[in-house]
């Protein structure tokens, strides 16, 4: 027990770093032999803390070697308790053709601590806490520090109570988390995350229920932003919308899936009505996983008496050449206003993830983005990450 407490203390101290989005890797659905996200995650729609099955997959299937268990298997947690953490350090180089381009930076990107408590066989409590990331040094005139005070950046993005009597079947949960919708990659800069309702730290207070089976899953959610009176650690830091979302996914033969989704978000300044589709296809022989998402968004601005239509999409594939390595090129498109020429954005991404040993990940990411019409300078991003999960 003393060893366990020490380990949790270390994780807790490490968490006074920099939180990012709840980690989800849709690239592992089908490719790792699991056909649904909740097979490896406690959350019914995936993301966040991984279960004992997920830890086993992390060591045996995803990484080149090692033990994916909590603290590399050095400690066995009681069955009613699960814990974990994510730590990331990143270095970036951006170039956009401006007078002071290119620019380089390094920064602690994420430190999240997770805990899940089982309350009997059917209920559980999930808690997450960390500190907001800080990609760029703060203006010295504001705080006088390279990075702002850690205490001011504490945030709990996810905390919820869940009823889930078995791994498959019905479930319900209430608390703070993203309403299930779309491909929720780790990379929050992807257009489908940034412009479709799951931008970084935009978790809402949500009541969600649904059904998960081997062949299909359905998630229905109602959400609202935290009251403005809540402390910063529990506040919504982005768009403030209330509404609902639905996601239905049907899987074919354990190697592909199609999903339909819809979301309505009503805000004070703007409202969004959106719907779309998600496709996933695993080709075992070629070790290729294709992932695609397309959404159509109707955005209304009542004060300006104006409505615009948007389109956002992602299309990519991930190649698994050897165990522990995945290579993923992708194309993204965001059309800010379908009626106005020159408001489109194209991004071409290449991401290489290397898992040399269980609990360790190296990420190399490159992005080339074209904005607007020809003649505007392109923007490039090169990023390297070191990721450790407890």
């Amino acid at each position: 027990m003393r060893r366990l407490l020490f380990c949790l203390l270390v994780a807790g101290v490490a968490t006074f770093g920099f939180a990012r989005g709840a980690a989800a890797y849709p690239q592992f659905q089908f490719s790792s032999g699991t056909n649904k996200c909740s097979q490896c995650h406690f959350a019914p729609a995936g993301g966040g803390l991984i279960s004992s099955w997920g830890r086993s997959e992390a060591g045996d299937t995803i990484s080149m070697a090692g033990d994916g268990a909590f603290l590399h298997g050095a400690v066995s947690l009681p069955s009613w308790f699960a814990a974990g953490a994510d730590l990331r350090l990143a270095a970036t180089r951006t170039a956009d053709g401006g007078d002071q381009s290119p620019q380089s930076a390094w920064f602690p990107m994420q430190a999240d601590l997770y805990a899940r408590f089982a309350l009997g066989d059917q209920f559980s409590v999930y808690l997450e806490g960390g500190a907001r990331g800080e990609a760029r040094p703060v203006d010295g005139s504001v705080t006088g520090h390279l990075f702002s005070d850690l205490g001011n950046r504490f945030i709990s993005r996810e905390h919820y109570l869940m009823w889930r009597p078995s791994a498959t079947g019905p479930y319900a949960r209430i608390g703070r988390f993203y309403a299930p919708y779309g491909l929720r990659f780790v990379e929050h800069i992807f257009f489908i995350r940034r412009y479709a309702g799951s931008e970084l730290y935009n978790e809402t207070y949500t009541a969600s229920g649904g059904y998960v089976s081997d062949e299909w899953e359905l998630h229905l959610s109602a959400f609202t932003p935290p009251p403005t009176s809540f402390p910063d650690a529990l506040s919504s830091l982005g768009a403030r919308e209330s509404g609902g979302a639905g996601y239905f996914e049907y899987r074919f033969n354990g190697m592909s899936a199609l999903a339909a989704q819809a979301r309505v978000g009503i805000g004070k300044e703007e409202s969004r009505y959106q719907g779309g589709a998600v496709g996933k296809l695993w080709i075992e022989k070629a070790k290729l996983l294709f992932l695609g998402e397309a959404d159509y968004i109707i955005q209304n601005f009542s004060a300006a008496s104006y409505t615009q239509n948007q389109f956002v999409s992602y299309l990519g594939f991930t190649y698994f050449p050897v165990r522990g390595v995945m290579i993923g090129p992708a194309y993204e498109r965001f059309q800010e206003n379908l009626a106005v020429s020159g408001t489109g954005r194209n991004a071409y991404d290449l991401e290489i993830n290397i898992f040399p040993y269980a609990h360790f990940e190296v990420v190399l990411f490159g992005r080339y983005m074209q904005v607007g019409t020809q003649g505007q300078p392109a923007a490039t991003l090169m990023m390297a990450q070191l990721h450790y999960y407890l």
């Binding site: 401006g98 412009y195 982005g238 300044e269 080709i283 379908l338 020429s341 019409t373």
Partner: protein, 127 residues
């Protein structure tokens, strides 16, 4: 571990793939050059991200997280100059002239910058 390669929904998947590649625009910009549109449509999603000009970060003392806060920041910090819209500091920032580009990670389309310029030229009101 996996079943034989048989995919009954392949056609639908290809439709989804094709849909992911579309997206084009018209030729005229009829969007209102008003702050009630520009703030929620352009500056909030592009500039009020959590590490930059959100209510909690307020980089450089600039808070663009909603219409009123954004308007106050731009006016009180003199980022807009209705008398000479092209010399407005916010226009220089968005064009990366003499400074890092704003927003630094994802430049705004030129038509969005021109819409903001028109709003400034019209008096930069909280309309």
């Amino acid at each position: 571990m996996h079943n034989p390669p048989m995919f009954s929904g392949r056609g639908l998947f290809l439709v989804a793939v094709a849909a992911a590649a579309i997206g084009c625009g018209g030729t005229t910009d009829e969007r209102p050059p008003r702050w009630s549109f520009i703030s929620p449509a352009i500056t909030e999603p592009s500039c009020a991200t959590v590490n930059c000009h959100s209510a909690i970060a307020q980089r450089g003392g600039v808070d663009l997280h909603n219409r009123d806060a954004g308007y106050d920041s731009l006016k009180t910090r003199a980022f807009v100059n209705p008398a000479e819209p092209d010399s407005s500091p916010v226009i220089f920032l968005m064009h990366a002239q003499g400074s890092i580009r704003m927003p630094p990670d994802q430049p705004l389309p030129e038509v969005d910058i021109q819409l903001i310029r028109t709003w400034i030229a019209n008096g930069a009101n909280n309309d």
